[in-house]
C-alpha cells in the first residue's frame, strides 16, 4: 500500500518559486493498475518521483508499506528503492554496454543474489516479456519496444512491491505499446503486481483500472474504471 498524505513540493531557486504539488492525498492499494494523468507541468512526474523516493516532499508523508520514505536518508532511500520499487522510464534507460540478460540481472547483483537465483529469475522474466530469444543482445541491437520490455523485466527482477512507470509508452509505436501494456496487464492480473503510471497516452489510460488526474499540483479527479 502506498499512502501519500498532505504532500507539497515547492521548487525555489531564490528567484522563482514553483509549487509543483499542493497538498496531495492519495492511497494506492496492492494490485492496482493506476494511471496518473494530466497535462505537461501538472505535477504528475513530480508525484511519481516522490512516491518513488527519487525526490523528497517539501511537506507531508509518503508511506510505503510501513515505511515513511519522506524520513529516510539518501542512502536509506537508495536501498529502499532497490528492494521495494521497480522503475520503468520513458526512454528505457538500459545500460548500453550490457546485454538484455545482464541488464535484467543487474539489480539482483546489487542485491547480492546467488548466481543460480539470478539465472533462474532472469530467464523467467525475459520469457514473461517475450524476449527469451534476445537475451544476448545489447540495447542498440533491439527495437524500442523490445528495450522497454527488457526495462519491465529489469524492474521486476528485484521483486519490488510495486512498479512506477514514467510515460513508458511515449517512445513506442502502437504495436509495441499494445504489446507492452498486455505484458504489464498480465503481470498485474496473474502476479498481483501493482503498477503506477504517469502518462498522457490514451491507450494506457484506457487500460488503467484507476485514473488519477492531476492539474496545477492538485488531484482533480480520482476515478476507478
Amino acid at each position: 500500500m502506498i499512502k501519500v498524505t498532505h504532500v507539497t513540493k515547492t521548487y525555489d531557486d531564490g528567484k522563482v518559486r514553483v509549487e509543483a504539488l499542493r497538498g496531495i492525498n492519495v492511497e494506492i492499494k496492492n494490485g492496482e493498475f493506476t494511471a496518473i494523468v494530466g497535462p505537461s507541468g501538472s505535477g504528475k512526474t513530480t508525484l511519481l518521483n516522490i512516491i518513488g523516493g527519487l525526490d523528497t516532499p517539501t511537506e507531508g508523508n509518503v508511506i510505503i508499506g510501513e515505511t515513511n520514505i519522506a524520513q529516510l536518508s539518501e542512502n536509506q532511500l537508495i536501498d529502499f528503492r532497490l528492494n521495494h520499487i521497480g522503475f520503468v522510464f520513458q526512454s528505457y534507460n538500459l545500460i548500453p554496454v550490457l546485454t538484455a540478460k545482464e541488464n535484467v540481472e543487474f539489480l539482483m547483483l546489487l542485491q547480492n543474489k546467488s548466481e543460480a537465483e539470478r539465472d533462474e529469475r532472469t530467464t523467467k522474466l525475459l520469457k514473461a516479456v517475450g524476449l527469451e530469444d534476445q537475451i544476448n543482445k545489447k540495447p542498440n541491437e533491439m527495437s524500442g519496444g523490445q528495450q522497454q520490455r527488457v526495462a519491465v523485466a529489469r524492474a521486476l527482477a528485484s521483486k519490488p512491491d510495486f512498479i512506477l512507470a514514467d510515460e513508458p509508452t511515449a517512445n513506442l509505436d502502437s504495436a509495441s505499446t499494445a504489446n507492452l501494456l498486455d505484458i504489464m496487464y498480465r503481470l498485474n492480473q496473474e502476479e498481483n503486481m501493482t503498477f503506477v503510471f504517469s502518462t498522457h497516452d490514451q491507450r494506457v489510460i484506457d487500460r488503467a483500472k484507476r485514473v488519477i488526474t492531476v492539474e496545477d499540483g492538485k488531484i482533480l479527479s480520482d476515478i476507478y474504471t
Binding site: 512526474t45 527519487l54 539518501e74 528503492r81 534507460n93 545500460i95 543487474f106 539489480l107 528485484s158
Partner: protein, 404 residues
C-alpha cells in the same frame, strides 16, 4: 559486475579511449626515454672518468695533498700495495709519481702534470693504452726515455711521434731539473681538458730524474664499482694516516651529476604523472558528464553511491592499466635495443668530448623505474578520477532523468 561495467564503459567511445591511452603511453615512454638517456649520459661520463683518469679509489699522503711537495710520497707504500694485491675486491692498482712540469718542444710550450707510471700496472687500472694511436704504451725507444702526450698537447707543441721534447721542473730542494723524452705515442681520451694537462712517462724514469723513490698516488680499481665506499672505509681503518678518496671525492662533479640526475628524474616523473592525471581527469569528466542520465538511472534503481564511485574509479584504473604497460613495455624494448646498439651522436662528437662524453650513447634505465612508474601510474589514475567520481555522486537522479 561493477568492474565488468567499468571495463565495458571505457570502450563506449573507442576513439577517445585510445587517444587517451596512447597519449598516456607516449607520455610514459617519452619521460622514461629522457630519464634513460640522461642516465646513460651520466653513467658514460662517470665510467669514462673512472676508466680514464679517476679510478675507483686514490690513495695519497695527506701532506702531499696539502702542500704538493715532491717528497711527500706515500710512506706505507709497500704495506698498502701488499694489502691491495691480496684483496679479492681489487682488480688493479697503479702507483704514480706526479710532477708539475713545463713541457716544451721546438714548436711550442705548455704546462703539464708529468705522470710517472708503470705501464703494465696502469693497463689494469685505466684504458689509456687503448687510447694510444700508435699502440706504443711507453715502450723504450732507443736511448731516450719515452713519453706519451695527448693529441691536443701534440697540436699545441707541434709534436708527433718521435719528436724530442723537454720537461723542466724543480725538485723539492728548488734545483731545476730537465728531462729529455722521446714521444713514443699520442693518446686521445674523451676528456679534452684532461688530455691537455697530462703527459705520461715511465715511473722509474721519473724517479731517476727526481731522485724520489715511491709514488704520490696509488690508483685502485675494484671488480665491483658498488663496493667502493665499503672498501674505502676498510682501507681508512687499515691505513688511517693516508688520504683515501673514492671517485666521488676525487671528482665531486661526477657525484653532483648523479644527484642532479636524481633531481631531474624526479622532476620528469612528476611531469609524466601530471600529464597522466590531466588526461584522465579530462576523459573521466567527459565520460561522467555525457552519462549523467545513465548514472542518474543507476542511482534511481538502487545502485548506491559507493558503487557508482568505484565504477568510475575502475574505469580510470582500466585506462591506466592498458596505457601504463603499453608505455612501459615500449620503453623497455627501446631502452634494450638502443642499450645494445647505442644512439649515434657523432654529429655533436666534439662538444660531447669536451665534457668527457663519447659520441655513442647507451641509454640505461634502472629496473626500479619500471616498478616506480607502474605504481605511480595506478596511484595517479585513482587520484585523478576522484574529482569526476565525486561529480557523479552529486547527481540528483530525479533531475538527471528529467533534464538529460
Amino acid at each position: 559486475m561493477i568492474v565488468k561495467i567499468a571495463f565495458k564503459n571505457i570502450w563506449r567511445n573507442k576513439l577517445r579511449s585510445w587517444v587517451v591511452i596512447i597519449a598516456i603511453a607516449l607520455g610514459i615512454f617519452g619521460g622514461l626515454a629522457v630519464i634513460s638517456t640522461a642516465t646513460g649520459l651520466s653513467k658514460m661520463r662517470q665510467n669514462n672518468a673512472i676508466r680514464t683518469y679517476v679510478s675507483h679509489l686514490q690513495l695519497h699522503d695527506s701532506a702531499y695533498l696539502k702542500y704538493g711537495r715532491l717528497d711527500d710520497t706515500i710512506n706505507q707504500q709497500a704495506d698498502i700495495i701488499t694489502y691491495l694485491e691480496k684483496s679479492k675486491k681489487v682488480k688493479g692498482i697503479s702507483p704514480r709519481l706526479k710532477v708539475e712540469s713545463f713541457i716544451q718542444s721546438a714548436g711550442g710550450t705548455s704546462g703539464v702534470i708529468l705522470n710517472g707510471i708503470d705501464p703494465e700496472k696502469e693497463r689494469q687500472v685505466t684504458d689509456l693504452n687503448e687510447q694510444c694511436i700508435a699502440g706504443n704504451f711507453l715502450e723504450r725507444y732507443k736511448q731516450k726515455p719515452p713519453i706519451i702526450i695527448s693529441q691536443k698537447l701534440a697540436t699545441k707543441l707541434n709534436a708527433r711521434v718521435k719528436t724530442t721534447i723537454q720537461c723542466s721542473f724543480t725538485n723539492n730542494m728548488g734545483v731545476p731539473i730537465t728531462g729529455i723524452f722521446k714521444v713514443v705515442d699520442i693518446f686521445s681520451t674523451s676528456n679534452s681538458m684532461y688530455d691537455e694537462l697530462n703527459a705520461f712517462v715511465r715511473l722509474e724514469d721519473l724517479q731517476n730524474l727526481t731522485s724520489i723513490q715511491g709514488s704520490h698516488e696509488i690508483a685502485v680499481v675494484l671488480h665491483e664499482g658498488k663496493e667502493v665506499e665499503q672498501f674505502r672505509e676498510e682501507l681508512i681503518s687499515k691505513f688511517p694516516n693516508q688520504h683515501i678518496a673514492s671517485w666521488r671525492g676525487i671528482a665531486p662533479d661526477l657525484g653532483y651529476a648523479d644527484k642532479m640526475m636524481d633531481l631531474v628524474m624526479t622532476l620528469f616523473l612528476i611531469i609524466i604523472m601530471l600529464a597522466l592525471a590531466f588526461g584522465i581527469v579530462n576523459t573521466m569528466l567527459m565520460a561522467v558528464l555525457e552519462r549523467k542520465k545513465e548514472l542518474g538511472m543507476l542511482i534511481s534503481v538502487g545502485m548506491n553511491k559507493r558503487k557508482v564511485f568505484w565504477m568510475i574509479i575502475w574505469e580510470s584504473i582500466f585506462l591506466a592499466l592498458i596505457a601504463g604497460p603499453l608505455g612501459i613495455f615500449s620503453t623497455y624494448l627501446a631502452v634494450n635495443f638502443f642499450g645494445r646498439v647505442g644512439i649515434d651522436l657523432s654529429f655533436a662528437a666534439q662538444g660531447l668530448r669536451s665534457i668527457g662524453l663519447e659520441s655513442t650513447l647507451f641509454p640505461i634505465l634502472d629496473d626500479k623505474y619500471y616498478v616506480i612508474i607502474s605504481i605511480l601510474v595506478i596511484i595517479t589514475a585513482i587520484l585523478s578520477c576522484i574529482y569526476p567520481a565525486l561529480k557523479a555522486l552529486k547527481l540528483n537522479p530525479a533531475e538527471t532523468l528529467r533534464t538529460a
